[in-house]
């Protein structure tokens, strides 16, 4: 139940700087979007049903083995048995392409992350091998979760490319490239540059960036330590299996105590074996945390986009201010700032009136264009802030809900583990008592 489309109350906008009219408008828009959004997941059942290995030639014409995933879709009305779902196969790289497309096309959306490409944080039982069946299985679940997240997103679910990804086998890649999204992508350099030089970013985005950095740090640490704890727990349980063996051997030389020892030994074996299930469940918890760890990247992407648009706005505004000043200087004849032109004109005489007039005209034109540009950029920036913040609030609520649920399940898991432990040791104790 992770990727639910959310309650109607999600459109809570924390920005108190909006006027009430704007607020109403935003709520209306979001509601419409939610309606649209819920409709996709309502209409369609989406699942990533299977995974298979394929061999083929890669881009440098070398043989490679890769995994493909079966995406099944089925209209929700046709839930009756016998209706086979539509299906197609996709590889991980196609999911990546889809996501990149979404990131560029909807920069104000906190786009759900994909599961790990490679197993990064492993403990000794899990292999770091991408071909390992457990890893592939967890990835399958992660990919399905990704699709559900997108399909239930109020904005993203309406995207055509997404729909075709789910339903059309051929030529999807070409279609994606044809959208020209790659050209729209902001260069990393531009973004980094903007991040450094922006003067007045919206404070909320700065705060959000801090938060996502903190969350990333703490979740990475948490996942690392959890893996180590799991490793140790595994060791504790498994060593108890040795009791099983020695009790069995011992029971062979005993008369009275033999039976009790033997059965107690079996319970010790069961105890040692029980850790596998426990840790399997814990992996699921770890995956939930991991999703939010990867989400921090998406959060930062939105913040970066804001910084970029804000920066561009500032640049354009600065340019306009510059031009205005130039005009003023030209008109009043005063040279306030040092310029080579100014010096040369001082040295070599003033320009003629016609020259000045011509220059003024050019400047006027530039000023007009500049003002248009500023207006445009302003609108763009405002739009972005508005839509981004709506999605960020949506994300925050989703995060709080999901993680609360995850933490509570974790507690439930711990209790279940303890109950099993009590059961096993009580059984063993009964056997000991019978010795």
């Amino acid at each position: 139940m992770m990727a639910d489309s959310g309650p109607k109350e999600v459109a809570v906008i924390g920005n108190t700087e909006l006027t009430s009219a704007e607020l109403d408008n935003n709520i209306k828009n979001t509601m419409v979007e939610i309606e649209k959004g819920t409709s996709l997941l309502r209409k369609m059942e989406i699942s990533v049903a299977e995974a298979e290995k394929r061999t083929g030639k890669n881009t440098v014409n070398m043989q490679e083995i890769y995994t493909v995933y079966l995406i099944e879709t089925r209209p929700v009305d046709a839930l009756t048995e016998g209706i086979t779902p539509d299906s197609l196969w996709r590889r991980y790289s196609e999911f990546e392409l889809l996501r990149n497309y979404l990131l560029v096309t909807y920069p104000f959306v906190v786009v759900a992350p994909l599961p790990e490409k490679r197993a990064e944080i492993v403990w000794h039982k899990l292999s770091a091998d991408n071909m390992d069946p457990d890893f592939v299985e967890r990835r399958r679940v992660g990919l399905e979760n990704f699709l559900h997240r997108v399909a239930s997103h109020p904005v993203l679910c309406n995207d055509n490319i997404f729909y075709i990804f789910l339903t059309e086998d051929k030529d999807w890649k070409e279609m994606v490239y044809e959208t020209g999204f790659q050209a729209k992508a902001d260069s990393r350099l531009k973004a980094v540059n903007a991040a450094f030089r922006v003067k007045n970013p919206d404070g909320r985005f700065t705060e959000l960036k801090h938060y996502s950095d903190e969350l990333q740090t703490v979740l990475s640490q948490l996942l690392r330590v959890r893996a180590r704890v799991a490793d140790r727990l595994y060791g504790v349980y498994k060593v108890h299996g040795n009791y099983g063996r020695v009790f069995s051997e011992w029971s062979a030389i005993e008369k009275e105590m033999g039976d009790g020892l033997q059965s107690a030994g079996h319970h010790m074996d069961a105890y040692a074996a029980s850790v596998d299930d426990i840790l399997e469940e814990e992996e699921h918890y770890a995956d939930q945390l991991k999703e939010y760890l990867f989400y921090t990247d998406a959060l930062r992407a939105v913040c970066r986009k804001h910084e970029l648009t804000q920066f561009e706005l500032e640049m354009v505004a600065l340019d306009l201010a510059c031009k205005k000043q130039q005009k003023e200087e030209l008109v009043t004849g005063t040279v306030r700032t040092f310029s080579l032109k100014g010096m040369t004109s001082k040295l070599f005489g003033q320009e003629t009136a016609e020259q000045r007039e011509a220059k003024l005209q050019v400047l006027e034109q530039q000023l007009k264009e500049g003002e248009e540009a500023v207006k445009e950029k302003n609108t763009e920036s405002d739009e972005f802030v508005k839509t981004a913040w709506v999605d960020i609030e949506r994300f925050k609520d989703q995060k709080d809900r999901d993680l609360k649920e995850a933490l509570i399940s974790y507690a439930v898991m711990q209790i279940s583990m303890c109950k099993k432990g009590i059961q096993v040791w009580t059984n063993a104790k009964e056997c000991f008592n019978k010795m």
Binding site: V239, L407, I408, A411, K429, N433
Partner: protein, 439 residues
Amino acid sequence: MSACTPKSLASSGQKPIQEMCHPLGAEEAVLTPSPDVRNITSSIGEKDQILPNGTPVETSSPSSSSSLLNRLQLDDDLDGETRDLFVTVDDPKKHVSTMETYITYRVVTKTTRVEFDLPEYTVRRRYQDFDWLRTKLEDSQPTHLIPPLPEKFVMKGVVDRFSEEFVETRRKALDKFLKRVADHPVLSFNEHLNSFLSAKDLNKRQGLALLSKMGESVKYVTGGYKLRGRPVEFSAMGDYLDMFTQKLGTIDRIAQRIIKEQSEYLAELKEYGPVYTTWAASEAELQGPLEGVASCMANCSIALDELTQDMSGDFLPVLREYVLYIESMKAVLKKRDNVQAEYEAKLEAAALRKEERPTVPTDVEKCQDRVECFNADLKSDWDQWQNNKTQDFRQLLTGMADHNIQYYEKVTAGDYWLMLSYVHLIQVVVQGAKGSVSY
């Protein structure tokens, strides 16, 4: 009145632990159905749970509490028998003198035996004294299996000789030792035991004792006689002891390994909890649940630490004690072999000189007696030992199970707290989300 049902003799059958009153748990009298009982009081820590009329109170299986172990260990074999000698070791006290620091234990004896001048004695003894007693018993009753003492030497720096846990573990072992000796049909009448229990100051005469010990052991060990045919039952005993020692060694290693793994788990757990606290600092809605998880982890750490301590303190020492015990038993078996070998050799020598003497010489007869006595003593002691062993290990292993059960119960208590605190939040989540969430 105590809410739990008191029991009297072992014949009433084993009850599960939960139903048993702890003898020192209630502040009130522990009664038996016997109507003669009037002036029995029980208090925590001080008096014995013995009734002057000799009826024992069954208080077996106290594996629940490590510090209040039962004071009366009833041997199943003495069901129905009237015991007339009761001993207890308790009340450890530290003594500091200019020369040394050591612990003494109070030894209380209650008896109706004529061999004792008084019906009751209270003396203070230290480990050295117990060691002396055991040596004397070994020397004076070489054909019997003498119960073991806890280990004599401890590595300074590794173990704190004056820590509560160590002293308590030792006290329990000394108590068990003395009770076993007091219950033994032959050893309990030994004069050295009498002195130990009653004398104001133990006149140990260490020097002489050492000499006599030397003398006797020379006699037995360096007999140099080869054994012809060992009776099957004694071979079987030897074999069993060898195999048993092996198993005990394995169990000791496993237990140590588990303790080590648990310590490492604990170390990681101690790092794990605080990360949740750090995370909680940057969250709003999630702060509560995260703090909850952190405190659960802390709770778990404490419980795990206690488990490891308990196993180190209760489990391992008893295992080791048994290994030592078996060593001393094997020594006795060897003595028996030597006595038999001596007899066989003398018999053969006498047979060769048959012509000179018509009757079997007296020293050969004496040897034969010695062999037969030794065999008889050993056989009866062996059976008793098997019973004790079964009891001891039943107690040890159920103790291990109990410690683990307690650990899990403590952890569950912490988790339940977390769950209850946030159950109402689950309702909110359920109402908010469109799907149904069930737990």
